[in-house]
Amino acid sequence: MAATQEVARFLSDHSLVEATLKIVVVFAVLSGLVAYLVYLERKVLAFMQARLGPMRVGPWGILQPIADGLKLLLKEDLVPAGADRTVFLLAPVISVVAAFSVFAAIPYGPGGWTITNPNVGILLILGLSSLGIYGIILGGWSSNSHYPLIGSFRSAAQLVSYEVAAGLAIVSVLLIANSLSLVAIVQRQQQMGAWNVFLNPVAFVIYLIAGVAETNRNPFDLPEAESELTGGFHTEYSGFRFALYFMAEYTNMVLIASLAVVLFLGGWLRPFESVRWLSLLKYAPAAALVGAAVFVLWLGLKSRVRAERIFFAALAMGCVLLAAVVAMPAVLEAIQGVFWFTVKVMAILYAFIWYRATFPRYRFDQLMTVGWQRLIPLALSSLIVTAIMLVWTGQRLAPLLVANVLGGALTVLILSARQDSGRFRTIEGATR
């Protein structure tokens, strides 16, 4: 009886039901996005290496993530001999929970497109996402194996180092926005009429580099360097627990990209909102769907397999229909914010994959040098310059931009001059 009353009370409280629904939707979309991010990564990486990537499961390998997921689910969940069983089983869960729970505080669009809007949003996100490192360290330690242990230590050192630089870069944004709430940060950018990248490009670059490092991706993928540590902290994991780590990793990627978008790229704001004649950009969602339809149709025409041709034709039809729905003014207005947010996040995710295809891995001492001796001084100088300019000239675009770029350039020159004078202590012959 009490339970039904409890349920009735819960259902009568609209905000709770709404929040629950939103959580379910965000979780579902995010899981799908993460699965297809893996597919996107394999495809883009393959094309950049003059290969085709997955091609055999479904047309153009489109069902590959599902097949991978099924495979991992059906595999045996091994626990190595001598492992700390409880910790070993719990560690990936910590990682994945930390990674997913953060998305409650991300604003996907204006108004109701957030789950919650805590007034300390950015602190909450940084705090929660840093908990993920416990999963990595505990997983590596409890495996009772050398490679995972080394991998997790590397991971801990790397995260601590780069969290500092990323934090400092974020602080300069907070100074400009004068708030810790993510919604307020985006609204501030709207009022200024300029995204924070243009106010402080140095901080953006620092955040992006530190973000790549925090997600353990190339060129900072030392914690799981295949050629050195077989698999890093998840070497001993198999089956579903490995899948959890994998999901946590890619969710973190999405998180870093989302944060970069909110903090520096104007969140849900449409580009050129103040320019009159570019209000045509409002129709970009429909145009994107039509573009997707044309692309899919082209794929279908190229295919020699009949089932594939039918599939692609149907997909193109679906895209066109969706475009027609999206082109309706009310719908267009509603999805405007979330569309631009997604586009920006995808662009940054693409850049992450692009880096992976291009840059070779750092050596560990180089990693530490870049973190402590380059990024942190640069972030500090950018923070100081931003603070001074905010007090001196107020929140104006041009002075902030010029001062930050000049300050950044000066800092880099000073840093490299110091390096040439040999005052940096590095391993013999490893000056960069």
Binding site: M48, R51, L52, T358
Partner: protein, 150 residues
């Protein structure tokens, strides 16, 4: 100074990014999807053997003269024949042991009537050793490459 500026603006990294980006064009893809696409084979490639029939009459071109069998290892090719009433040789059986063949083409060169031919087909794998010994009917049908669809 120039060196310094290159480092400052990450010129080398940007050039690397441009290179990898350009490789995404479809024409750069090097992969050949083998069962669906077949590689072009050289014109004089020597693959699976075939015993040619006359294109119009359908009778075998082979005159059972035996030089192909003599051209290479003992019993790789075994030609069986009978004498007809007017004492002409007539082909009865023809076996070809692909498991010992190294596709040198000596038998093909020895044939005076272009009956034996090493074709361009390269799919000669079989599930057993016995399957590699091809008899006359298999040789006359010639190789039939499997066409794969999904």
């Amino acid at each position: 100074m120039r060196e310094r500026l290159r480092e400052l603006f990450l010129v080398d990294l940007l050039r690397g990014l441009r290179l990898t980006f350009s490789y995404q064009r479809p024409s750069a893809t090097y992969t050949e999807q083998y069962p669906l696409e077949r590689p072009p084979v050289a014109e004089r490639y020597r693959g699976a053997p075939r015993l040619n029939n006359h294109p119009s009459t359908g009778e075998t071109l082979c005159i059972a003269c035996n030089p192909c069998a003599l051209a290479y290892t003992e019993n790789l090719i075994v030609v069986g024949w009978e004498r007809t009433s007017d004492r002409k040789k007539m082909l009865t059986t023809f076996t070809y042991d692909l498991s010992r063949c190294m596709f040198c083409g000596l038998c093909e060169d020895a044939c005076p009537v272009d009956a034996l031919e090493l074709t361009q087909d390269f799919e000669v794998a079989r599930y057993s050793r016995e399957g590699l010994i091809w008899d006359r009917s298999m040789l006359e049908e010639g190789p039939e490459p499997t066409r794969y669809t999904r």
